[in-house]
Amino acid sequence: MRIVFKTSYDADIRLFKHGAQAFWYAVLLALAIAAPFLLGSFLTGEATNVLIWAICGMGLMLLVGQSGQASLGHAAFMAIGAYSCVLLQTLAGLPFLLAFPLAGVITGIVGAIFALPVTRLHGIYLAIATIAVSIMMEDIIVLSEPITGGVNGLFAPDIEIFGLNFNRYSNPSGLYWLVLAIAVLVALVYRNMQRSPLGRSFAAVRDSEISAQAMGINVARTKALAFGLSCAITGLGGALMGYFATIFNHETFNIVISINLLLMIVIGGLGTIHGAFLGAIVIGFLPQAIAFSRDAIGEWTGIGSIVVPGLESGIFALILIGFILLEPMGMYGRWVKIRTYFELFPFARRDMFRRQKTYLKTERIR
């Protein structure tokens, strides 16, 4: 284990703890940039999909992992992002470079307004309220057919920036790099948030609303801000998903997407940027893996292609239950444990990560 000898406050604030860490992230980024040359166009498309999921996941992670609010309705905000981005382009005639950030801003404002009344609820009640948003959003999209195209959906124009075309089929690598750049930017903003008073105020609201108030934090405002920022990021991800799908309707952003998002950040590891990416890899590749193994098993047993309704949801559910029971810290938490084991070898102890339970709690005031 590397012990960093801190000689300035900057040692605590800077993005990477030490040179080696910065080096490995640079290698990772270089590999990610080089990926389209190493992978075929199909896998590049899949990687783009994973990155889009990761962006949406970071949005929800900010809300759930950082500020401790639950949301089962984030697909609704993905939809708002996607529809507003495309409509800003087609109806208002804005270029993508303007429409895309504006879509994020619009989604953020909608999210913050929604949060003001709803975040008075806690835990399961908040989750139910957000499910309602997700369900309502599907109906709103269908009902406002003149603008949204209703059930027939909306056709996303090609992304064009300074005359460069980022069509999914004609320029898969270009789209991949664009999404990668956005993902890195979002991760950077997320990291800045974590190391500034903003991130600490989120953590304060998450862990104890009473003492957050006593420290001068306006809890309602902070929760609305967390919701707004979370929705803005998710809206950006949703917009990208809309373009990636080329044509999308109300079903593209249904409740299952919301649940997948939540599942993704839980199995990735709550409260970490890594968790969003690891979870996105699982969510992105698992359906392919299931389809592939289903065909393989069918061929091997000679039954032919087996179709089991709900197989995918079932497997997702099993994975989620497994993680909650066996590794609540998610994949990133497991990785940290493995890394610590080798770093400290042979001095790692089993209960190093055991959390001390607290039984004392101030009686809830009000």
Partner: protein, 259 residues
């Protein structure tokens, strides 16, 4: 002008009168202690000063101005910091992070500049950390700086909570049972710290405490409460020898004869 003044404050929970017509004033630079048996209304008074509760009648003045029109989160900005009886720290954050939350009232950047982490935010962050390090040095918390609260022993948490309140750089510090659950040595440390908070930092302290040794060692004036009513105010020895106080703690002879 007194720093903090309670004027005929009454608070009722339904039919129960938790605090009944209590008045007292805390002068600048003193250590003022509230004592009394359980359920006397000491913590309730604290919760009214930090605006978790609104008094039924009466007024609370801080630096001559009523604080009853302020929201709960505006109290810290006025310069009133507090700790909690049962420790309310942010469990999933380090000691340093917890204490940095105490600097929230000194935040001058907004969420947009913070997300971009502009040089201004970085400079501010340096200033916050310097202030927190002063509190860490003062309370000897260096070994725990990076530790998560969730893994810390009770005594250390108690001190961290005091440090977080000091990071606010308040004018008035409310300590709710600073020595409860602490060992004899730890209680002595707390006594020294309270002395230093008063003398070196110039912070006025209002505390609730059961440990009479600590109260008589550090406090300038003591107010004894029972059943929400004021029994006696004065120096620690005066209050300890007050017949009404002795009766509240030990019961009276008359009462025994009647039974």
């Amino acid at each position: 002008m007194s720093l903090l003044e309670l004027k005929n404050v009454t608070l009722k929970f339904g039919g129960l009168t938790a605090v009944n017509d209590v008045s007292f004033a805390v002068e600048k630079g003193e250590v003022f202690a509230l004592v009394g048996p359980n359920g006397a209304g000491k913590s309730t008074i604290f919760n009214m000063i930090s605006r978790f509760y609104t008094p039924y009648s009466g007024d609370i003045l801080f630096e001559g101005k009523s604080i009853l029109n302020k929201a709960t989160h505006e109290i810290a900005g006025l310069g009133i910091a507090r700790t909690f009886q049962n420790i309310e720290l942010f469990e999933q954050a380090s000691v340093l992070q917890n204490m940095l939350v105490g600097r929230y009232t000194h935040r001058r950047s907004n969420f947009l500049t913070e997300m971009l982490f502009t040089p201004f935010v970085r400079r501010e962050e340096f200033a916050h950390r310097e202030a927190v390090e002063r509190a860490i040095d003062f309370l000897d918390l260096q070994p725990y700086r990076e530790k998560m609260i969730a893994g810390l022993p009770y005594g250390v948490r108690k001190v961290v909570e005091m440090g977080r309140a000091l990071a606010i750089e308040p004018k008035l510090l409310l300590l709710d049972e600073p020595a409860s659950g602490l060992s004899v040595e730890e209680t002595q440390d707390v006594a020294f710290w309270i002395e230093d908070i008063k003398k070196i930092m110039g912070i006025t302290v209002l505390m609730v405490e059961h440990d009479m040794n600590l109260v008589s060692a550090v406090s300038d004036r003591v107010l004894a409460l029972a059943d929400g009513k004021t029994l006696a105010v004065g120096s620690p020895s005066e209050v300890q020898n007050d017949p009404a106080v002795i009766e509240a703690y030990l019961g009276s002879d008359d009462h025994e004869e009647a039974a």
